[in-house]
Symmetry: C2
Subunit: 344 residues, 2 copies
């Protein structure tokens, strides 16, 4: 089906666009009263993620309500560990929690390599969302980066330091690489299934990139992200490695189309490090959306000027925080659209 | 009193040293069974910090046990908010928690500017520790950076995002600056009192530096750290701004002697950005100390080679994690001493 609005795909490929495309990480989520209403029907997060009708419904909401230029399938990065054999729970105020974690080489051997069928609830949600979107905007599929999934599978929960996961890198690099390879193979299968179901582009989230040294990042994360980017050829690929400022140059060499920046990364410096062959995405501080309208307008326009009109997708530098006012999110989206149209 | 070992002071001033001095952030703490034994006598953390005899005792322990080249006074960065009028509790597994937080300009007005007398339990501990050290090694005094203290005083607890503290920067910069100035004035009084009591050098910890944009960091953090460095003239000053990779160049221009690096910061790049007029401190990953002895030796020597022999103090890039083996910490210290003696 032809897309009515393909701005984000063209920007990802480096083609000219009439204006800057914009979407927001966590746009389908708690900032929308409409989302909270759907969530009330099914409070358990993991079950909610596994219910394609509801996942598809909240995926489409921000397109209707905020006017963003892409939808992103509502799901969770931890569906891959679960499909590999490590189920998890989402605990109120505590975040994800795994009953079983990976400790030994035997634990790694016993994990399955996930395939698309294991995650049919996600591909079903994609099919439903594509139908409801009806070509209005592209649909983004996604996965966690292998290192970030590894971190949860070893640590068993969120952590400020992920010291147990990092301990494994230092004490058993062989096990670490074996697990990372199994996660990578699963992720490639998963992303291919998302694309077969209709995802128009994909994003890889490396949420815990910033706690590794540059050297460890190359060895234990970027190598596997690169394998994924080599294997996925049909759609544009976005890589967002939060806090991995040190990897910007290395990232310019992998086969992705778009690199996400967080708000600590200077825009001009990032462009210099990354070069002109990648599209950049980001990088407003989510806390900017707590500010008054005039401050949001001023800072958003400053960001747009710094990125310039080409090879750029406007977004935040992290997911929306749940207590952000919906009207301010919409104002951010509108500011991007208006200002970038004017300056063209 | 003349110090028998003043390596760290000479390294801070840029003078030649026979070998590289070494100490570790959180060296006085849970990694030592001897510390845990003293802590058992008085389980409440805040009361423990306020008991000079016990604070002095655990301050001196790592000098005896690990052979480090400096002691750091055992205390907590949150003693300043408490002295200003915001008491806190340290909750098991949850960290600091403030009953009252700063919300309005009136709240800021009602806070006191702390002076040395408000924190006599710290200066008493310093005097006792100096006596017990008896000139063996220098004693480091410390404080939190104003931004990091501000973050706790607004947020009221630890946080992954400190979104409420950052919200205040965006929504009420006037209040923010008024509070930061009051914290800065308190901190200057406090550090001067620590020096009068015997601290031989001081370190400013900006634990939450990395969550600000470079622009906000200059406006809301570095400006106040710089005021402190201007006001403290009698002893060398170390500034450790965790994750503030973007501020390295700007930091080279403030009146500090030593800049702490974390393990994400490339050593050669940091030296280029900071120049030759500052001593660097750091930057081993605390998780390295989970590794086998041969890996610790290899990586520590690699670090020492990269920093080179002059203007350098060996340390970690963050505090020791509590489950680190004491013997491995000692091995790190010994490796620094032996290798840096050999290569001189």
């Amino acid at each position: 089906m032809n897309l009515k609005n393909d701005l984000i795909l063209r920007a990802a490929r480096g083609e000219k666009t009439e204006r800057t495309p914009v979407w927001l990480m966590r746009q389908a989520g708690r900032i929308l009263p409409e989302y909270r209403k759907v969530r009330e029907q099914l409070k358990d997060f993991v079950t909610f993620v596994k219910t394609p009708e509801l996942a598809a419904e909240v995926t489409v909401q921000p397109v209707d309500i905020l006017g963003v230029d892409a939808a992103i399938i509502f799901s969770d990065i931890l569906v891959i560990p679960e499909a590999m054999g490590l189920p998890y729970k989402m605990l109120e105020a505590k975040g994800p929690w795994f009953e079983k974690t990976v400790k030994t080489e035997k634990d790694v051997e016993q994990l399955r390599i996930a395939n698309g069928d294991d995650l049919s609830y996600v591909t079903d949600a994609i099919k439903l969302a594509k139908k409801e979107l009806n070509g209005r905007v592209p649909l983004i599929g996604f996965s966690g980066a292998p290192w970030t999934l590894f971190a949860y599978m070893i640590e068993g929960s969120g952590s400020k330091t992920f010291s147990q996961a990092k301990k494994m890198l230092y004490t058993n690099p062989k096990l670490s690489h074996a697990l990372l390879q199994k996660i990578t193979d699963s992720t490639i299968n998963y992303l291919k299934a998302q694309i077969a179901a209709g995802a128009d582009l994909i994003q890889i989230f490396d949420s815990w990139a910033g706690i590794l040294s540059p050297e460890q990042y190359n060895e234990f994360s970027l190598r596997y992200i690169s394998q994924i980017c080599d294997a996925i050829t049909l759609v544009p690929k976005i890589v967002f490695a939060k806090d991995a400022y040190f990897a910007r140059k290395a990232m310019s060499k992998i086969k992705c189309d778009v690199i996400g920046l967080d708000w600590t990364m200077d825009i001009a410096e990032s462009r210099t490090l990354i070069g002109l062959n990648k599209t950049l995405q980001g990088n407003a501080d989510p806390c900017l959306l707590y500010a008054d309208y005039d401050v949001i307008k001023r800072e958003t326009e400053k960001m747009l000027r710094a990125f310039g009109p080409s090879r750029y997708i406007a977004n935040l530098g992290h997911g929306l925080y749940p207590d952000t006012e919906k009207d301010k999110v919409k104002f951010f989206v509108d500011t991007v659209k208006e200002f970038s149209t004017e300056v063209r």
